[in-house]
Structure formats: structure tokens, C-alpha cells
């Protein structure tokens, strides 16, 4: 592979040759020798190979978890969903560049806030070490699970509870055998929705409709399940974005099984 200094040297020589040719006054049709552009670097991986659950190292606060998933719409591409312990939600389209470079473009939503922030990250990945860096290294992630397989609806069936705002609000949702979500919040809103296990990756597609006396709002996104372990109940986390054109808000619903 040509290094940068060699390439620049050749360019200079080429330019010089052209100047010499043009200024020779010979009247001939001497053309400058074309310079072949440097070949595009071959990527060392595809975005699809980044599928999985990626987490920040222990001790990094706020902890971040990113799920890299094939885009649910069926179009080519990978989507990175991120949730931190600060409960900010991000959804980014992931692409590759150069040998091991990454680009990530999308939005971030603050917890409990309306409105989003546009994000654009550059980064890199190393599949041998299962590491990924975004935001020019500010966000370092390690892959802990490839998420191969498919979501199991039976895991999600049951009654789930979550709280918000320092126990100001509680939700109790039931997921039925067909994946239908239903239940109220203590503020008097009702929720309906659907969990659909994906067959290509071990997550669920999630949709939720919130109906309050103040209005109705629809959300769509992704959900993941963790089995009960010891005294810790099973967990089901939904990360969904409002489906209005401006995608004004997002919800992170961290449910535990009752």
C-alpha cells in the first residue's frame, strides 16, 4: 500500500511533469501522464458484522449499552440503539468507512424531555478484539453478545411493572401470549402495543400507543429480555421513539416481572 508521503511525492512529480509538458512549446499533443488514484482501502469488516450488544467498560459512568441490529424495515443497513444509565436514548444508522472506520448518524433524546438532538459520530471497530469506539474514542464499547438467534415471545409473556420519576408514576403492563401489550399507568393513561420477536436477531420489535386524557401518542422501537437470575426478577426493557414526523420524544421503559 502506498503511504501518504510517497503519494504526495508522486502527485508533485506529476504536476511538475504536466507543467514541463505544457511549457515545452513543442506544439505537439503531449498529454500529461494520468496518475492513477490510490485504490480505495478494503474495509476489514461490514456493518452487519457489528451486530450484537455492546457495553461500556465497568466503572464508566453513565454506563451505555448499544444494540447493533439489522435495520428493522428490511432495508440494508444496521441500526444502533443506545440506552445509558442516564436514560438518554439514541438511535443511529451505522456505516463503515475506510479499513476499520465507522460512521454513526442519528438522534438522541434526553430522559423525560421532548425534543431530540442530532448526533454524528466517527469511530472505528476491531472485530478481533470485539471493540468499538465512537465519538472519536469518547465512547468505547465491548461486545458481550452477538444476539444471534431470535426473540422468544414466551419469555415476554406475563405481568411487568416499572416506575418513573422517583416512584411518582408506576405502570403495570401485561404481555399476552400473542405479544399484545396492555395496561395502565397510575396517572390514568392506558397503554396498548405489540411485541414481535425478530427472527434474524435476538430482540423484539416493539410498538406502544399511549392514550391519556391529553392525547394519544404512538411509539416504535426495540425491546430486549433478560431472564430472572437468583433474586433478580426477569427484565424487559423497551426503547421506543415517537412515530410523529419530527420524532419528538422517546421512552425507555425498564420493566421487571411481577
Amino acid at each position: 500500500m502506498m503511504n501518504t508521503s510517497t503519494f504526495k511525492g508522486l502527485m508533485a512529480m506529476g504536476a511538475l511533469s504536466a507543467l514541463v509538458a505544457c511549457g515545452s512549446g513543442s506544439g505537439g499533443s503531449l498529454e500529461p501522464t494520468p496518475i492513477n488514484p490510490a485504490p480505495a482501502p478494503t474495509p476489514s469488516f461490514t456493518a452487519a458484522q457489528l451486530q450484537g450488544r455492546w457495553v461500556t467498560a465497568t466503572g464508566i459512568e453513565p454506563q451505555q449499552v448499544a444494540l447493533v441490529l439489522p435495520t428493522a424495515s428490511g432495508s440494508d443497513g444496521m441500526t444502533l440503539w443506545a440506552l445509558g444509565t442516564d436514560f438518554k436514548v439514541a438511535r443511529l444508522s451505522l456505516g463503515t468507512t475506510g479499513v476499520d472506520g465507522l460512521t454513526a448518524q442519528g438522534k438522541q433524546w434526553g430522559a423525560g424531555q421532548t425534543g431530540s438532538q442530532v448526533l454524528g459520530y466517527a469511530g472505528s471497530a476491531n472485530l478481533v478484539q470485539n471493540t468499538m469506539m465512537l465519538n472519536n474514542g469518547a465512547l468505547q464499547l465491548n461486545r458481550t453478545d452477538n444476539l444471534t438467534g431470535s426473540g422468544q415471545l414466551s419469555d415476554a409473556v406475563g405481568v411487568w411493572a416499572a416506575r418513573f420519576g422517583g416512584s411518582a408514576v408506576a405502570v403495570n403492563w401485561t404481555v399476552s401470549a400473542d405479544g399484545a401489550i396492555s395496561g395502565p399507568s397510575t396517572t390514568g393513561c392506558t397503554y396498548t402495543g405489540q411485541l414481535r420477536p425478530r427472527t434474524d436477531v435476538k430482540v423484539y420489535q416493539a410498538s406502544v400507543v399511549e392514550t391519556c386524557s391529553t392525547g394519544t401518542k404512538s411509539f416504535a422501537g426495540v425491546a430486549t429480555h433478560r431472564a430472572a437470575a437468583g433474586s433478580a426478577p426477569a427484565a424487559l426493557t423497551l426503547v421506543v421513539v415517537s412515530t410523529d414526523a419530527a420524532e419528538t420524544s422517546a421512552l425507555a421503559v425498564l420493566l421487571n416481572k411481577n
Binding site: R163, G188, C189, T214, A252
Partner: protein, 209 residues
């Protein structure tokens, strides 16, 4: 409640278009002082009535055995209001919960044990509330004036009407007995309804995504 005081409640014109009756807080065409299941009470416009006993007066009207704010005369049971009082809002309310008139404590004799009774509260439409909130067994305030809990909040004339259901001996009957008496401690309050306004709590099982 002294009958004379009850006559000062701003009357609600009957929806049927009949004559406005003095002292008719719920617009049923009858003075509240003549009804055992309708009471209009002057509250102080403060969440801490013990500290501000001379705050401006606002009237609250409570209807027991209510159908859309009017006494249900078709049912086989009847309810009578024994007391309605204003109390201080609890000091440990969630930050998002604003209870401008404090707690409304009331007792209703509903006759048969385990009876479910519907109540309505009327307050001036300018009062910034979006529900009738009671503290549930799980330690979370619940908006009973919502469809999810069989209630509703509507504007009727220049008043808000908040309908809610309570069961004798049920979760929100604070005397905890199925004895034919419903005792309630709730408040007209405002709190954001949508989950979008809230930060999730960390679940007991820890963070997972």
C-alpha cells in the same frame, strides 16, 4: 356544613337550561343544603390550610352516588356524605404532583358493605388540576378521575367535574374496612400524565438493555 355557608357556592346552571338555583354547586336544580348526598364546602386556596387559614376561599362541591355529577336516583342504593374537610397536602408528595387545595378528606355512608360508589367533585375551571389523586397501597399516587380507573374529568359550564369510583373496603378506602362506610383522602392535583415527562427509575434488578 352550615346551610347558610353552602348557599354561597357558585351555582352551576342546569344543563337542561332550567333556572339557576341558589346554592346549587352541581347544577342538578336543587340547593345542595337540601341534599344529603351533595355537599359544597368553602376551601382555602392553599395546599397548607393549617398554615394559611385565611387564604382566599374557593368552593368545592362533592356528590356521592353520582352519575355525571348528578345524584343517581335510579339505583337501589343511596349514599350520604357524613363529612368533607380540607387538610394539608402531605409534605412528601412527588415533586411533579401539585395539589393546590391540599387533601380533601370525606366520609360517605354507602349502606351495603363492599359497595362501589361513584363520586364527583366540582371545582372552578380555573383551578389547575388534571385529576383526583389518591395514594395507593404501592405508595404511588393514582389518578382515579381517569378512564383507566373508571373515572373521567370534564368541563361542565365554568366548572371542572372529576368523576371517580371508590369501593367500600377497597384499596382506596382509607378505613380499610368493608363496613358500609367509605373514607377517602385524596386531592385535586396536577401531575404530567404522559410517561414522556418522566425519567425512568432504576429497576430492582438493575440496568438492562
Amino acid at each position: 356544613m352550615p346551610e347558610l355557608v353552602e348557599n354561597f357556592v357558585p351555582s352551576l346552571p342546569p344543563a337542561s337550561g332550567g333556572l339557576v338555583v341558589t346554592g346549587d354547586g352541581n347544577g342538578d336544580g336543587m340547593a345542595d343544603r337540601l341534599q344529603t348526598d351533595v355537599v359544597s364546602v368553602p376551601f382555602r386556596n392553599t395546599p397548607q390550610v393549617s398554615q394559611h387559614p385565611y387564604a382566599p376561599v374557593v368552593f368545592v362541591t362533592l356528590v356521592a352516588g353520582s352519575t355525571q355529577g348528578k345524584v343517581d336516583t335510579t339505583g337501589s342504593t343511596s349514599a350520604a356524605l357524613a363529612s368533607v374537610v380540607q387538610q394539608d397536602a402531605p409534605a412528601n408528595l412527588p415533586a411533579a404532583l401539585d395539589m393546590p387545595l391540599g387533601v380533601i378528606g370525606f366520609t360517605a355512608n354507602v349502606g351495603t358493605a363492599r359497595t362501589e360508589e361513584t363520586f364527583s367533585l366540582y371545582v372552578g375551571a380555573g383551578t389547575s388540576v388534571n385529576g383526583y389523586w389518591v395514594l395507593g397501597n404501592a405508595g404511588v399516587w393514582v389518578n382515579l378521575a381517569s378512564a383507566a380507573y373508571g373515572g373521567a374529568m370534564v368541563q361542565e359550564g365554568d366548572k371542572l367535574r372529576l368523576d371517580f369510583k371508590l369501593v367500600d373496603g377497597g384499596e382506596f378506602d382509607t378505613n380499610n374496612m368493608a363496613d358500609g362506610v367509605i373514607t377517602a383522602q385524596g386531592g385535586l392535583a396536577h401531575m404530567p400524565l404522559s410517561l414522556v415527562g418522566y425519567t425512568p427509575d432504576m429497576p430492582v434488578s438493575g440496568f438492562w438493555f
